[in-house]
Each structure stands twice: as C-alpha cells, then as structure tokens.
Symmetry: C2
Subunit: 412 residues, 2 copies
C-alpha cells in the first residue's frame, strides 16, 4: 500500500507553522509497513486542492488529509473532496453532540460557525475528536481510500493513533511484515559513524539502514521485510549486533527513547535522587526532567544560578572560588554540584556552568562549559565541553552531555 | 512569481524529522512577495524525484530543492536535476577548498566521500555554505529557475538568507510590492476572535487577513499588495486599527515576537530584576528567559522546588502553609513569590505551583495552577488557571500566562 499525505493550509505555505503532522503520520505509517512516497502541502484553495487530489490518486492508494476541517470560511477540505468524488455532506449527530459538550466542558460560548464542523462526508466512517470539535473521516471510493484529519496536532495525533491507524490496519494486506528499529548514538558525528560501518551500509538490501543526524545525536533505522515477523526481527538483530560491535561505545538506546528518558529510568531503578544547579542552562535540564510524569520521587529540585550573586546566595559557592577561578571553572562546577546535593539531601548533584554565547565570558569563548557531577561517598567528577554551535544549541547539547556523563557514571 | 519547494529525503517520509526547511523558506518568500503554492516531499529516489520536478515545472516558475546534496550514497538531488535538464556536473574549486578548510577548522578527518560535495551543476551560480560542506546552486533553464540548498537547517538557513534570497530578489519583477504584518493575541480563542471581527474578515480582499491558532495564542496575518510600498503599509495600518478597536485587549505584539520577548523588553526598560520559584514548570519559565542573550542583568535566578521539601528548604515556605492550604494554593504561591524575591533581592518575584497532570494532586484536578507575582512595595497578586490540556501543554501555557499577567502588572 502506497500513501500520500496532503496537508491543507495557507498558513503552512506562508511559513507561519511547521508541518509536524506529516512527520507524525509518516512515522506511524512506517511502523505498520505503509510506504509514504509523497508529502504535499497545498493552500486553502479549492481548485489547487482538487488538482493535488488528482495527482495523488495517480500515485497513491491511501490519501491522508490534514487540516481544513475547522469552523472558519477558509476551511474547505471535506467540501472539496466530497464534490470531487460526488458525495454529499451530512450532519453527524454524535459529532454535533460532542461539539456541544466540548463547549460546555470548556465553559466557552458556542458560536454559529462551529455547527459546520459536525458535517461529514456521507458513508464515511467518523473518527472521534477527543481534543477538539472537528471529527475525522475515513472512506473508500473506487480504488482509493481517503482519510480526513484535523490540523491542530493535539487533535490530530490522538485521533490518528487511536482511530485512524486501526482503520488502516484493517484494510492492509497482511502477507508481508515490515519491522524496524532505531538505534540511537551520542558523541559521534554522522560521517564518522558512516565511515566506521561503510561496508555494512554498502551491502544493505534487507534490512535497509538509514542514518540521520540531529542536535549532536545520530540514529540508524534498521528496517527488514519478511513474510514472517520473527524472521524480520532476526535479520534486524543480526545487523544490529554487527553495527554495535563497531560503534557500540556510542550507542545509548532504541527507538523513541532519549538520553533524558534513559537517565530517568536509571535513576528510578537505582533509587537515586537528583538535585541540580544550573547557570547557562537556566533551568533547562530540570525542565526536561519535568517533561516526564512521575518524577517527583527522583527530582529533588534545584536552583537557577544565572548570576554570581545567585551562586553564592542559593548554593553557597565561596566568593574566593569565583574570584580565583571564575564562574566558568571546574572548581565552581564541583562546588555547585556538591553544595546543591548537600542542601537538598539528594544522592546526586549535577551542575552546569559555562558560556552559552554568542559573546565570550571571563576570557572563555562561547561554548565553553563545565559540568560537575557529585555523588554521595564518591569523588566529584567534572567535564569540560568545547561546543561550537549557536546559543540555544549549545544549551541543548549541554543538557544532553549532562545526561550522557551521568548515565556513564551510573553504569560504569 | 510562483514557487514550489521540494524537500528531498527519505528520512522525512519515514517521519524521522520534520520539514522545518519548507517553513523557513516559505516565510522568507512570503516576505518578498513570492507566492508558494505547493510544498512537496519526495524520497531519495531518482525516478520519483524526476516525476516531482516535472509536476513542479507545470505549476511553478521557481523550484527550490532542499536536501540530497551530502556526501552519502543516497544523496542524488543535483545528479537528478542535472540529468533532467541536460547539464553536466563539474568540480567547483572554491567549494573544494572550502570543504578542505572546514575539515581543518573542525579538526576532523576528511573521508573520501566528502569530495563528491564539491560537484556543482555547470553554469549554476554557487551559493557558499558557511556552516557545512555542500555548496548551494542557483540556475535558470528555459522558463524555470532552480535553487538547490542543503538539508540540515543550520546550513540551509544562513545560505538562503545570505545568498539565496538575494539571488531571487534580483530576478523578481519589482512592480508590485507585498507587505505584511502579524498581530499576536493571547487569552482569546480562534473562533471567538473570528466572531468578533467576522465582518472585517468577510470583506477582506486587499489586505487579506489570515487567522492562526497555536498553544493558547492566536495570530492574524495582514497582507497588502500595492505598487507603492507606503500605500500597502497604509492599508495594513487601517485594517489593524479597525481590528484592535474590537479585540485590542488581547493584543500583545507584532510579527515574530513572543510573550517572553515582550516581557524581557519591558523588564529591561523598567530596570527590573526577576527571581523565580517554579514547581510544576520545573525550570521552564527560567529556561525560556535564558533563550535570550543578555538576560543576566534581569534574571537573578531562582529555584526549582518540585517537592514540598524543596519549597521549605530552598524558599522557606512555612510548613503550616503546606499542611493547612496545600502546595497547590494561593497562599503557597504568594509565599513562594515573596520569599524568592527577598532571598535574591530582586524587584519582582514570580512563582508557579500546580498540577501539570496527567494525575490529580491534593484533590486538585490536572491543570489547576496558581501563579504568584510579588513586587517590591506592592501587594502580592495571585492568579488561578484552570487548564484542560496535556501535561506539557499545561506547563507551556502556565509559562505563557506567567508572562501575560506580569506584562499586565507592569503596564497597568
């Protein structure tokens, strides 16, 4: 089965928003073995949308639309598709009820234009919208399947994963199984990684191996096809072992995990608690921990000590340390980590002090960062980073290196 | 001039990355009056790429490609375009030199596959790559213009804004000027906003008005065309004034600004300093301040007091406050804000305490949040939020409401 994703919305063509929907749906489809060969974006214009549908029908079996289901005048996806395939729009009573309930729940006034959202294409299976008003649709016409999803990602994603994906699974030919796994690496560049495994990449047919780099990380997606799922997994396993024999030192996890996710799992497993003192990252490390629910048992908390004054007042860094070595120093990093651990009585203290950029500080170029890691009854470690990216990329990478070094400490 | 953006890369179709390049280029093109009617994504496959070029040539004058210029085997954009339009690839000596210098500068070893990156299409204007190795290209063939840009955003964006954009400006017909401005609103929903200004939207022709909602914010983009730039701006100004007479209470800024940017500008202007105590946001408010350079004069720092223990130890919240009213209370929010202001001797203290979700806490449903704002010599204010979104959306919106209320305090 070949799929095409058509995002409808002039705001995409004006560059006001990014098409994250195409990524989300493509990823889900890849996981169930549906090939996405094209993603298209077209504006809120019936004529151009119709042309895009005609092109997509020539090259895809399944066409998934996002956007243009809302209440406003420029929302015309379902109207255009219905006209193109010769179907009517009818009011869906359940959708209408759900829209009315949504307004009651959020205590907002329902304006007249919202009723338009309860219209669906006749004969379509309605996909419930649990986070908004516009229902989704799925229907077959001739040789083609059409799925209509809302534009806002917080409505589209749950609708697709809970209802849309299953509707597609029901129509899939189940003869060929496609399995895939992503290996995640940190601390090695993309071309370096490729050079280390070039011979494995060169003979790739089944499984295939796709490298990808982003923000200091590299991933390899291994994808295998076979009539038997277990044989596909055996092929993946074999290739994975061969790759990890070469570059296993940089490997940290599978699929959708992240360095922070791995770190949190490890802290939970070891009954460790963490306290943090952040200067250049200004709370970013802790905010990233806070992205995960249930972390109150491990995150004791910490401080944002952006200024020297805050380093002294909140974390009792000695004035002499700052005058003798400066805020960007291994001595300061060590004191920050040890003191915050002691103040909050955690088992681990971690600190970040450095120069995010763009300007240099205390004679240190932008990108100079010290990370301190203190542990109860262990010698405090410090790590120097020399990053060479933009301000915010330097801050993000500092957080990732913090996870990386702490994972190494906890697993060595 | 009509443009189409074709992103080349199987990693996009597999959903491994988001097509931020299309957004970036579309936004830049909108600003110089080039209409983008289509964005397309196609995989690393010469046959399908060629088909996409043929389709694009029928509906666009300018085709901009991103990706597929790298050193690896699956990079084939320039090869495919050259073959399609009957041109040869030649080694560009400057590009080769720049690639060699790049390896010297970053102290990495140059692998053989990198030499491929110095090949360019004959007769193309070469666009220098200041952040990577693959040079860009711009050329005319028949009635069409082709621009080739690298895939990694940190290479593509500077190349486009510094070289690609100017190359396009040189070929543009300058008779019609297109100007546009974005108005940003917070605290009002999209359909509510549309209802308030429906008659203005209904008669829109020139200027046009495009509404867009995301994460608790709504924007309106006003775009006017005229032979005279000043007349286009006068039309925008007129429409803007009419809109702000209706919904000006929710307006907070123009174009690419953000609530945090506006808040920082205001704090700087008033010589204010801020200290923060964050529970559910776990550092996110301060990390967002830290996104901006030069904030050390206003951000005194603060604490992440995710646990009750940290609230007492780091911010001296009274045990009785927590036992009598709970951590999610106006009393706790007020104490946190006042105490952190006093500890760090700032002119403003702000606090966030609440339930991010998904679970409820102390009998408060997920989304219940108290924000406290303390100011020197003023009565402390507290604000209750009842959010109804996901954990991380609740945390993001809490940060935005913090900016919003603080801006109101400072401007009232």
């Amino acid at each position: 089965m070949k799929a095409e994703i058509i995002a409808v919305g002039s705001e995409l063509l004006l560059g006001q928003i990014v098409n994250t929907n195409a990524k989300y749906i493509s990823k889900c489809l890849a996981e169930i073995g549906v090939n996405v060969f094209h993603q298209t974006v077209v504006g809120d214009n019936a004529g151009r949308l119709k042309e895009s549908i005609v092109i997509a029908e020539k090259r895809a079996d399944l066409i998934i639309f996002t956007g243009g289901l809302g209440p406003t005048k420029d929302d015309l996806t379902k109207e255009t598709i219905a006209a193109h395939i010769g179907k009517k729009l009818v009011t869906d009573l359940e959708a209408m009820e759900s829209i009315e309930q949504y307004f009651q729940r959020t205590k907002r006034v329902m304006t007249e234009n919202n009723k338009k959202q309860a219209l669906v294409i006749e004969d379509a299976k309605v996909l419930p919208n649990e986070n908004g008003m516009a229902p989704g649709m799925f229907l077959k016409n001739g040789q083609h399947f059409y799925m209509l999803l809302p534009g806002p990602p917080h409505e589209m994603e749950p609708m697709f994963i809970n209802y849309g994906r299953n509707a597609i699974l029901e129509i899939l030919d189940e003869h060929q199984k496609i399995e895939s796994r992503v290996l995640r690496f940190f601390g090695i560049g993309e071309s370096q990684l490729e050079t280390e495994i070039i011979d494995i990449l060169d003979r790739q047919t089944n499984p295939t191996i796709a490298p990808l780099a982003s923000e200091g990380e590299v991933t390899l997606r291994i994808t295998a096809k076979h009539q038997s799922s277990s044989e596909a997994w055996r092929l993946i396993q074999q290739t994975e072992e061969e790759i990890l024999r070469r570059v296993g030192d940089y490997f940290y996890g599978y699929d959708d995990t992240s360095l922070m996710q791995e770190l949190i799992t490890l802290l939970n497993k070891n009954n460790q608690t963490i306290a943090c003192a952040e200067s250049l990252t200004a709370g970013l490390f802790q905010a990233n921990i806070g992205n995960f629910s249930g972390v109150s048992s491990i995150l004791k908390g910490g401080v944002v000590c952006y200024t020297n004054d805050a380093k002294m007042k909140l974390v009792n860094v000695k004035k002499e340390t700052l005058s003798q070595f400066g805020a960007v120093s291994k001595e300061c990093a060590a004191e920050l980590a040890e003191n915050i651990m002691s103040i909050l009585d955690s088992t681990i203290g971690i600190s970040f002090t450095g120069v995010a950029g763009p300007d240099s500080l205390e004679g240190n170029p932008a990108g100079t960062v010290w990370i301190g890691i203190a542990q109860k009854n262990k010698t405090t470690k410090t790590y120097l980073l020399e990053l060479a990216s933009s301000r915010n990329s330097n801050r993000l990478r500092t957080v990732k290196y913090g996870c990386h070094y702490l994972i190494n400490e906890l697993t060595s």
